[in-house]
Amino acid sequence: MKTRLNKVWPMVTISIAVSPFWGQVPPGAAPKPAALSVGTESYYRYPSLEPAAAISVQLADPAPVYDLMKKAIGSDPHNPLWDCTRPSSYKVAVVSRQSDGSLKDVRILKITSVALQGNDDTGKRLRYCDVGSPGQVQLIFNPDLGSKETLQVTLVGLPEGSAAKSDGTLQYNDTVLSFSATPQAAPSDKLRNGKTRDTGQAKVLFSDSNLLSSVQLPFNVYAKSSDLFSTDEKDSQSSFSAAVGLQRGIFPRWFAPIHFDETVQGNQTATNLSNVASLGITTLLPWSWSARLLYNSIIQAPLPPDLTIGNQYTHRINQLVAAGSKLLAIDDYSLNPVANWSSVRFPWACTVFGWMHITQKGTQPNPSKPGDKGTQPPQYCLGTELNFGGYYLPLDLTEAQHQRVEGYGDVSILIPLSGLSFASKVFPYLSSNDPAKSQIRIKWSDSVNAANNYARDRHWTYGIELIK
């Protein structure tokens, strides 16, 4: 689920040059439309986690649109000449550009609702438009669009002599349903019998992030599949995985999405075949209570740990293992709680590093050097990051016939290069006063590899990280 929610849903904002024309329309001539600034928005409704698509329309910017709203609303915002709250006050059309540069409507998209952005002074969502308020409305629509189709938004029903539309270049790139099939050649591909041969492969990806979009449900149902089919059934890379799941938030005001999905996976001939049922939740701890205890001159931990709990039950139907290898258990279950805590800093470290003369000190602007702004002291000099987790494997018994539990974790010491005086001479760009740009990481980890029968590995890592 975390991956799904991490998905970057693109937003396209189009700024349109402001027309210098603002005056009286000659009799008989169509009014020159004010240029609307529009963009697309994609988000999840919470707690149902259903995807939603919207077009944002700026009603207070640029200035000609603001002026137009004065005319459109009139003297009584409660009884406006043009009602911004109605879907019928807008037209969203898929357009095509003609040879003479004009735009032609190809089809009209249905706007299901209009969401005014912002609360009034009583703390309730705005329910009518006044001049400049709200600054933006969002038109909720069903994004049934091709990837290259462009949209134009027009305000409908404006007072005579007024017009407003966008420039018809808006694109909506995110879709609920996606499918791709990529053929590829795999020379000297490794087969399961140990031989190699040239094969042809097809990589097939499918996802539907809102499987039951026509039905109003209190949760989101999704499906996804990732497959690699080969011209040789013995191709060791061949695989398929098909999942159907549902997700929703548990609490209306606290982000805690839970998901359950069922996955069937194996190779293309199903000689390896298993069924995996997953149940998981991710959330944050309430943290405002910690301000005095964990945000002071000794330690600064302004953010709570991220918590994720995963449950996975695997039933292996068919197993095809290499000669000499042991069959895996037919039924496997794992409970996997994970906590990640970053952004922990130690403010006293700058003082200690200062005594050791390894920290840069801030400088005042030099009045004799024009443009010299001085330098800021480092924002912090020492931080840490902690990651902990565990696997509880009740069906996997140890030699002493105990249920298996494997814990793991890592601790990192972080030193931003921006705080070190020698680094500013060696890496002047990397050590500019931005602790988020680069840091020294010294990490000790005790890890287990779930894909390799929870094999344990302990090691130190040292390095300089460059952070985008």
């Binding site: 929610l5 693109p10 700026q58 910017d61 640029p62 200035a63 952005q117 912002g118 982000f255």
Partner: protein
């Protein structure tokens, strides 16, 4: 002439900024920030993880009442830029200044006002009575930390520059400081 909706819109923008700061209270470092520091804070620094960003989105939907997407949190680097996307501060500063300007500007279009010379809209420059009144009313709406004496002095220098248009002090004030 002062119309209440322009003043309301400007005051409400700062109420929205306060609400955004409160919506970030999951990060305890925000609680001690000034409103100006918060406005200029990097969203990615204050809300680094996916869970924190989604919790913020939930909070913001309730107050100040915006439907924010996760893409907004990367497309706009600071909280002021994010708020301007939903509620444009330069428009509200300009519209309020327009109501306080001289001549025919208060009844005219905002686009014309932004293109007007400062000397036409506020005769006498920063020493003129129109600008002094406007400045007094602006400071009563904009929190002091976001419209410091230093910024007021810089804006006054712009107002006294005969080559500048009204859009210049509007942008200067909207940058906060």
């Amino acid at each position: 002439m002062e119309r209440s909706i322009e003043k309301t819109n400007l005051a409400r923008w700062f109420n929205y900024l306060h609400a955004l700061q409160f919506a970030c209270s999951i990060n305890t470092s925000v609680q001690t920030m000034t409103l100006l520091a918060f406005a200029n804070a990097k969203i990615a620094t204050i809300l680094p993880s996916n869970n924190e960003q989604n919790q913020f989105i939930l909070n913001v939907k309730a107050s100040p009442g915006f439907d924010v997407s996760t893409a907004d949190l990367t497309n706009f680097s600071t909280f002021e830029a994010l708020l301007d996307h939903f509620s444009p501060l330069p428009t509200y500063v300009a519209a309020y200044l327009q109501t306080l300007s001289a001549g025919a500007y208060p009844g005219g279009s905002l686009a014309d006002f932004l293109n007007a010379s400062i000397s036409g809209a506020f005769p006498g420059g920063s020493a003129g009575s129109a600008w002094k009144t406007a400045l007094g009313l602006l400071t009563s709406v904009i929190p002091g930390v976001c419209f410091s004496q230093t910024l007021q002095t810089a804006v006054a220098a712009t107002v006294d520059d005969p080559t500048k248009k009204m859009s210049d002090p509007v942008n200067q004030i909207s940058a906060l400081g």
